[in-house]
């Protein structure tokens, strides 16, 4: 039988109360969560590498047999292995990764990619990238947005061939470990090298800029063509003297004509001018519509040219005939370019043409994001996030959807519903990324 409450139990309560008052538990939970998930992602990347080395090493040992014939075959096999492009896979994913596919860390957890040469990329929450191509001694990666931690493993003889494209910037890896973050909205690159050396080049730079171990640099190629640089965390300052004197065209200014309902759209003339600046063929006067050109630009970009080509071919017709994968890529390109109307059209086409699919539900979620982030249409965003929650009650984006739904309702004035969402979110995700916001909503009168 438990003893009755004593003075010591009351002292214990006072200790608990003093701890709650003086130490922010929510902050401690969030800090530990971030560190834990990052550590698990990095550990998982290392485990995948160990698995890959095992079978390959065994095959190699078995190939070096006693007879000359087997030895010759083994030599051929080894040479092919040496020349064979590296492959990659998502940690905790199924199967090998495919070139050109979007890899996105759209939830709060980081995502790790492991390459067969032992290199790894850990992408932070909010990041997007594509592995465009691979070679025997490296890969070319397109960073669409967000931050990465990269560790390049120099296993094979000869020069490493790792490079990262981020907007107008290109990062060539000479060393081994660095952190890269690209903000597609601001067109800014933030790079810090931990080991070795990387070289950054881009239209804003006269020559490649080296970033050695221990250094950090931020570069911003403004829409007006101005180059701003910051080093080691200092402020971004214009550096016009580093701009090239060549006839390289300036980046087109992002001009839009606001429509009556607040949706921003590009006029056809402005879009055509943007394409001419980006596409040499268009600038040379080749204005004849090419109905297949948009498919050729899907993987090579630039996004503005892809969208213009799709518009020239008739965007509505393209949405009616494109495959699901092509539609999703078009929608992504439009969203990243800030072309809300085109993104909405492509995503609606996904839902219309592929109803009941997980892609259709994901399109609903993305429609909510476009409405919220690019048009400020919170009531519409509410409808789309609700649609996702109803269609995918156990979906991979559920936490995000409920959090964003809560935010949309709050902003559109439906406080009561926002409170219900906040309570539901905290029950399911007490330490999730929207938990602090949910608590604020509940604390409001």
């Amino acid at each position: 039988m438990e003893s009755p409450k004593t003075g010591l139990a009351e002292v214990g309560e006072r200790i608990r109360a003093a701890l709650d008052e003086n130490v922010d538990a929510a902050e401690q939970l969030q800090q530990a969560r971030r560190q834990l998930l990052r550590r698990v992602a990095v550990d998982n990347a290392a485990r995948v590498r160990a698995g890959w080395l095992g079978p390959a090493f065994t095959r190699g040992r078995q190939a070096w047999g006693v007879s000359l014939l087997l030895g010759g075959l083994a030599a051929v096999g080894l040479w092919r292995w040496y020349l064979e492009p590296i492959s990659f896979q998502m940690v905790a994913g199924a199967g090998l990764g495919r070139l050109g596919d979007v890899v996105e860390a759209s939830g709060p957890e980081p995502v790790a990619l492991q390459f067969s040469d032992g290199s790894s990329i850990v992408m932070h929450a909010g990041g997007r990238l594509r592995v465009l191509s691979t070679e025997a001694n490296g890969a070319r990666v397109l960073v669409e947005n967000g931050g990465l931690d990269v560790a390049v493993h120099h296993e094979r003889l000869g020069r490493t061939a790792w490079s990262f494209d981020a907007g107008a910037f290109s990062v060539r890896v000479v060393g081994t470990a660095f952190h890269l973050a690209y903000n597609s909205g601001q067109r800014s690159l933030d790079l810090a090298t931990r080991e070795g050396l990387v070289l950054i080049s881009g239209p804003c730079l006269t020559e490649p800029r080296a970033v050695a171990a221990g250094e950090r640099v931020q570069l911003e190629c403004g829409a007006d063509g101005e180059l701003r640089i910051a080093t080691d965390g200092g402020p971004l300052v214009p550096r016009p003297e580093l701009l090239p004197e060549s006839s390289r065209p300036a980046l087109p200014p992002e001009q839009t004509t606001p429509a009556a309902d607040g949706v921003t759209t590009d006029t056809p003339e402005q879009a055509q001018a943007a394409v001419k600046a980006a596409d040499p063929k268009a600038a040379a006067g080749d204005s004849a519509p090419n109905h297949r050109a948009w498919r050729d630009l899907l993987h090579t970009g630039p996004r503005s040219a892809l969208l213009q080509a799709a518009e020239q071919a008739g965007f509505e017709r393209v949405c009616a005939t494109a495959s699901l994968k092509e539609l999703v890529q078009l929608a992504d390109a439009a969203r990243l370019e800030g072309r809300a109307a085109l993104a909405t059209a492509a995503l609606r086409a996904v839902r219309q043409r592929f109803p009941g699919s997980s892609a259709a539900s994901t399109a609903a979620f993305t429609l909510g994001r476009v409405a919220f982030e690019q048009r400020g249409a919170y009531a519409e965003a509410t409808r789309w996030f609700s649609t996702y929650v109803n269609e995918e009650p156990n979906g991979p984006l559920l936490g995000d959807a409920i959090g964003r739904l809560m935010e949309s309702r709050q902003r559109s004035g439906d406080k009561q519903a926002a409170r219900r969402d906040a309570e539901g979110y905290l029950r399911r995700f007490p330490g999730g990324p929207y938990a602090a916001q949910a608590k604020r909503i509940l604390a409001e009168q």
């Binding site: 006072r14 701890l19 995502v111």
Partner: protein, 203 residues
């Protein structure tokens, strides 16, 4: 190719996914159990700046030993055991540092905390200074029972000892605490406010 994110499933499915280190499962596991683990760590260690790192260590340890989890109904107490293990190791490291500071004060300069900003903070610091003087097993018994508020049986299970052993440790801890706390003027208000303060008279 979109990565799998939020894990959804019952406790059995979650444990299986944790064995595979599914990142979504790790996040769900953490979200479900971290608040309770944090309470235990804070009870054991007070306002220690390393608590977030130790919280992470508890879950890493849990993932490393997930295959040993026998009774899936007792995940919470299993994690409490992990938390006690991690807290104990931390306390021992801190004791070694304090012992080292006797010979080399400069090397442990960074261990000194900022001056408390309030009476409550000061009393809290004094309280844990009293607990620092206790043997670690008795300290754990005391904080689990009185600060974390566990029942005797749950606290004994978290310490991986029998109920009888736990009660003996707790009794010794109570005696030590009363004697040590009565020598700290800052703790007088906390001790005197108790209306059923029997042990102090016995001390």
């Amino acid at each position: 190719m979109i990565s799998p994110l939020t894990f959804v499933g019952d406790e059995d499915a979650l444990i299986e996914a944790l064995k595979a280190r599914h990142p979504g499962a790790v996040a769900v596991f953490y979200d479900r159990h971290a608040p309770a683990v944090l309470r235990t760590l804070r009870a054991a260690l007070g306002a220690d700046a390393e608590v977030p790192d130790l919280l992470q260590d508890v879950f890493i340890r849990a993932l490393d030993h997930i295959a040993e989890l026998q009774d899936r109904e007792r995940v919470r107490s299993w994690l409490a055991t992990m938390a006690i293990f991690v807290a104990r190791a931390h306390i021992r490291r801190q004791s070694r540092r304090r012992w080292l500071s006797f010979f080399s004060p400069q090397r442990t300069e960074s261990d000194r905390r900022e001056p408390p900003s309030s009476e409550a903070r000061f009393a809290l610091r004094e309280m844990y200074a009293v607990l620092d003087e206790m043997p670690v097993n008795e300290r754990m018994a005391f904080v689990l029972r009185f600060v974390d508020g566990l029942t005797l049986s749950d606290a004994a299970e978290a310490c991986s000892v029998s109920l009888a052993t736990f009660k003996r440790r707790l009794a010794r801890a109570e005696q030590r605490f009363v004697v040590a706390a009565s020598k700290r003027p800052a703790l007088e208000p906390w001790l005197e406010d108790g209306t059923r303060w029997n042990l102090r008279k016995q001390g």
